[in-house]
Point group: C2
Chain length 265, copies 2
């Protein structure tokens, strides 16, 4: 059995293309349809109600384009809206929280930190997901709202990034965490600064774990690698998003399309 339809991936912005990048390395024969809701980002400072409404609209868009599997690359949407998305979707759905929790537990570390947006941290989703797998772990979650605009500004290793990391992450040093989950698609860009602020701490990027979650749910395509397509849709076509998108994806985008999404799912 094979299925040539694309894998649908959405994120609030283009940060989720880092997830597509990892999926592509793992599944080079697959085509991808990515939707970045750049007209309404960020999600991480907004309410559950708004995040859910936007997420269902995004899923409606991807389903209408006939995807065979849905990846919710946005941590905030995965934390706040996965259940209604699963209810709505006739195709399998993979979020990033559960795979991230798997990866955190797999480090074997006892004291685990989690960083994410205000909405992700307030939801408690990572803490619950890790506790379900390994109740013996101590988990401390903390919101780092300024990391997103810093990554978007390209200020990932300058004095501002270092001073910000120091304020957000210093308490983790005192709490002696041994692993840290990067619970937002933007954070891997700040890896160097985070490592310097928390030396010796194992950083967990859920993008790796997402591939393992996708594998058993995937009816693979049978095409040659060079026939796979990377189609990116954005709801706002500002030039800044185009530039950032190719950097995140690490290759040229075959088709960049500006789409309008107004419905509520």
């Amino acid at each position: 059995m094979s299925d040539p339809r694309p894998i649908g991936v959405f994120d609030s912005g283009v940060g989720g293309l880092t997830v597509v990048r990892r999926l592509r390395e793992e599944f080079p024969r697959e085509s991808f349809l990515f939707l970045g809701d750049t007209a309404r980002l960020p999600y991480g400072t907004k309410s559950r109600e708004t995040v859910e409404r936007y997420s269902l609209a995004n899923v409606g868009f991807l389903l209408a384009r006939d995807v065979k599997l849905l990846v919710v690359a946005c941590n905030t949407a995965s934390a706040l809206a996965l259940e209604p998305i699963e209810k709505m979707s006739p195709v399998p759905v993979v979020g990033v929280i559960e795979p991230g929790a798997d990866a955190a537990v797999a480090t074997g570390k006892k004291r685990i930190g989690v960083i994410g947006t205000e909405a992700t941290v307030a939801s408690g989703a990572y803490v619950r997901a890790i506790a379900r797998r390994a109740p013996d772990r101590e988990v401390i979650a903390r919101a780092c709202p300024l990391f997103v605009p810093l990554a978007e500004e390209g200020w990932t290793e300058n004095p501002v990034a270092r001073a910000t990391a120091e304020i957000y992450l210093a308490p983790f040093r005192e709490e002696r965490i041994e692993a840290l989950v990067l619970g937002c698609t933007h954070y891997p860009l700040l890896k160097t600064t985070i490592e310097a602020t928390l030396p010796g701490v194992v950083l967990v990027d859920s993008a790796d774990a997402v591939c393992e979650a996708v594998r058993p749910l995937l009816t693979p395509a049978r095409r040659n690698e060079d026939e796979s397509e990377y189609h990116v849709c954005v709801t706002d076509a500002a030039q800044r998003f185009r530039i950032v998108a190719e950097r995140f994806l690490g290759r040229a985008i075959d088709r960049l399309e500006h789409v309008e999404i107004t419905g509520a799912g």
Copy 2:
């Protein structure tokens, strides 16, 4: 002649309440209906097309609630969408760019800096507005995208704010500007840090000038001051916006309402 209807004010977020605050000091008998588009903020990183679409939808909402005058408190919306708003509106419209340019010229300074969002600066609106009034002034505009999240995080006078201001504003020192227009409703919160980075530079806050622009267009209300109403609507009701809103307004809000805006004007 008198008109009891409220003055309508909108901004991408709740920062525009600083404009309402100044208007209230100047026109204490007026009622205000404020709309903060918190579900879709920020506007400053998005395209002209998106900003225009959102702005017209906001205006449609305020007009449907029967306001007698419209104030576009958002610099980005004023810079990118004022013309279509004026075309659509049967009531007078006041943006913040023209009043801000008036105030900048009124300082009498020859070398003028302007800071704003990426979209505001890219539009060239302030540079053109000042040149129309006083072609002899030298105007240099620069985007400071991180100032908005810093103000929202409440990091207005810490090491991160100072390091950020140094990176964005140091070039203005070399260019020896004498006045600086704070071209975003969030920036007045960073006044102390900006002043410390650019000692001796006159800071121009367009909120003051907006009152002068409103005065000749206003058919005043005749009620007592204690009968005026402050009604705030937001498109996302996250708790963070409630807290910030009362801080910006400097008084209790009589009615905070969560509204949904999906149309395109």
